[in-house]
């Protein structure tokens, strides 16, 4: 058997996967990136190997992607997150037309054509608004763990609005809503809606068509995904593990390279 690896070192998480000849996922790992992105990539890769029950010697080739793709020690090749998310999402959903990827510090909308080819893309990488970082700051202000934010939002009964786009100003809006005695559930919902609205703006710029798939860490937040589907007026699919789609794409590129 031959195996291939993909390592996605983003600003917040380092994700790695191991696949086989058929592109089947054998193991993965997700770790915080921390200060040393090179180390984080290696650790994630070791984690994925362990999960797959393999050793580095079993792997034919590794590709990297993500913000720190050039710094990954194990990688023989690199591709951008855009190409890798498209490739990975296409492998999971062959009829995907639009990908929305919201990571830690950026968000992207990608239009995908046949074979997972990128037709067009837009990126927001200039501002934390509408990114995972935004959610983290708001979860902090609400003193709620990030992965509980959507459960909290599910209990919302009153519609509140966060009007600031800027993360810093939005945080003070949240703080002021808390001090006005507004329910945390309603605030959590308002925060999710703020992200969803920003994201729809991004997606509309690239044009939404075909099946919509959401990737990246923020896709783990059900509230954001549901709101996104509601505003777009189209269902939004989320892979079982949205955070490793980029790494999966990288592994597929590694597999497709001849030799």
């Amino acid at each position: 058997m031959r195996f291939w690896g993909g390592i996605d070192v983003g600003s917040l998480s380092a994700d790695a996967v191991i696949i086989d000849e058929e592109g089947r996922l054998l193991g993965h790992a997700i770790l915080p990136t921390g200060r040393d992105s090179r180390e984080a990539g290696s650790r994630a890769y070791a984690g994925a190997l362990e999960a797959a029950g393999l050793t580095p010697g079993d792997v034919v080739r590794v590709y990297s992607t993500g913000y720190s793709r050039a710094r990954v020690r194990e990688a023989e090749g690199a591709k951008t997150e855009i190409a890798c998310h498209a490739r990975g999402a296409h492998a999971l959903y062959p009829d995907v037309g639009t990908i929305i990827d919201i990571g830690g510090q950026d968000s992207k909308a990608i239009q995908v054509g046949k074979g997972g080819r990128v037709l067009n893309f837009v990126m927001n990488d200039k501002c934390a608004a509408g990114t995972g970082r935004f959610l983290e700051v708001m979860a902090g202000a609400l003193e709620t763990p990030l992965d509980h934010l959507d459960e909290l939002a599910a209990q919302s009964t009153e519609t509140l609005t966060i009007s600031s786009i800027c993360t810093v100003f939005a945080e003070s809006e949240v703080v002021s809503l808390i001090s006005q005695g507004k329910k945390p559930a309603d605030i959590a919902m308002a925060v999710s809606r703020a992200i969803a609205r920003r994201t729809v703006g991004l997606a509309t710029r690239v044009g939404v068509s075909g099946r919509v798939v959401m990737t990246g860490g923020v896709a783990k937040n059900r509230a954001v995904v549901d709101l996104l589907a509601e505003i777009l007026g189209a269902p939004v699919d989320v892979p079982d593990e949205p955070q490793i789609v980029g790494a999966l794409g990288a592994a597929l590129f590694a597999r497709d390279e001849r030799g």
Binding site: K79, V118, F121, M123
Partner: protein
């Protein structure tokens, strides 16, 4: 081979001072864009083109709104910080609202003379001439007062010949880049162009012809990355060309206001100066800042990209440049309709971190390479 040009850029101030001394002419700062340098030179001045710099704004913020582009902002910063002390006066065109306002701010804040060449916004060539004939004399008088020389038919003819020669040489460099894509790196190419902003025309023409002579016998490397056409106001920041080089991108043509839009201009006809300046301003390349119903930017850009055999068009957008931003969505749509992929990067002259833009550019390249 490119050292003389890079050296100019690593010491712009020293270069300008040295050139001004050698030419024995006062330095006149020429603001973007399309001010015929010939007029400045014929009035006895040494025109230096100021297309902004990498200074981070601080003092200029006291006078300019936050939605002012970094070209205008950094030019003013340079002046206020004392970096333009050798500039005796400024020549503006009414290129965009920002520059029109900037000149007004200069008139109040900066103790140096200025002139403004008003670019006509009219329907016909005749109306354009009428409009220019009323303002050109005043501009020329202002230039002569500033530079302290006299504009004569002879001085005009000399200036026209010199700058016409410079642009003709630059066009040869453009042609060479197109024919032998990859021969000149993107960084070197734009360094060569940019160096000309700070050099006397004769000296620069000599450097250019020496370079062209060397390049003539050289072959480009084997085919590599995608062929791009770049479109925007200003080809800075040069750092971005380094990234394009690293990605193996071969820029084969451009549509920059200080690139091809200026370089393509024919020798200024000086026998009938009004007619000559009118033709200089409006031909041959269209611009987002020039109103010319007879020269459609959409058709032009498609044609320009096709002729260059470009795989894609990259819009090089300087944040807050309104005229450029206004045209872009339609231009991009037209390119898409014509099957020419395009993308956009948003820039500021003083930017320091290019990581995110690097990702955007490589994703665009991956897209082009399919």
């Amino acid at each position: 081979m490119y050292d003389p040009f890079h050296e100019v850029l690593s010491d712009v101030r020293g270069t300008i001072l040295k050139q001004a001394r050698a030419l024995d002419r006062p330095v006149i700062g020429v603001m973007p864009a399309y001010f015929p340098l010939e007029l400045v030179y014929a009035s006895g001045g040494f025109p230096v083109q100021l297309w902004g710099n990498r200074l981070a704004p601080s003092r200029a913020d006291a006078y300019l709104q936050s939605y002012c582009c970094s070209v205008a902002r950094s030019a003013m910063e340079l002046e206020l910080a004392g970096g333009a002390d050798m500039v005796r006066g400024y020549a503006f065109t009414s290129l965009c609202d920002t520059l029109v306002n900037l000149r007004e701010v200069y008139r109040r804040v900066v103790d140096k003379p200025t002139v403004e060449l008003s670019i006509p916004v009219t329907q016909t060539a005749e109306a354009r001439r009428n409009y220019l004939s009323s303002g050109l004399d005043k501009v020329n008088r202002g230039l002569q007062e500033m530079a302290g020389g006299r504009m004569t038919p002879e001085s005009l003819a000399e200036a026209s010949e010199l700058y016409g020669r410079v642009r003709a040489l630059q066009r040869r460099l453009y042609a060479l880049r197109l024919e032998r894509a990859g021969l000149v790196s993107n960084l070197d190419f734009y360094a060569v162009l940019k160096a000309g902003s700070f050099l006397g025309p004769e000296y620069y023409a000599k450097l250019l012809s020496d370079l062209l002579e060397k390049l003539d016998s050289m072959d480009p490397p084997e085919d590599s990355g995608p062929r791009l056409l770049l479109s925007g106001l200003v080809y800075d920041p040069l750092e971005l060309h380094r990234i394009l080089d690293r990605l193996g991108v071969r820029v084969v043509q451009d549509d920059f206001a200080n690139g091809w839009r200026t370089v393509s201009k024919e020798t200024l006809a000086v026998e009938n100066l009004v007619e000559g300046v009118a033709r200089y301003l409006f031909g041959p390349a269209p611009c987002c800042c020039l109103y010319n119903p007879e020269n459609d930017r959409h058709d032009y850009l498609v044609d320009h990209a096709r002729k260059a055999g470009a795989d894609g068009v990259l819009f090089w957008y300087l944040k807050f440049c309104e005229p450029d931003a206004f045209d872009r969505p339609q231009l991009m749509k037209r390119l898409t309709d014509e099957g020419i992929p395009s993308s956009v990067v948003e820039l500021e002259l003083s930017m320091q971190n290019f990581d995110a833009i690097g990702t955007r550019l490589s994703a665009f390249c991956e897209m082009l390479e399919g």
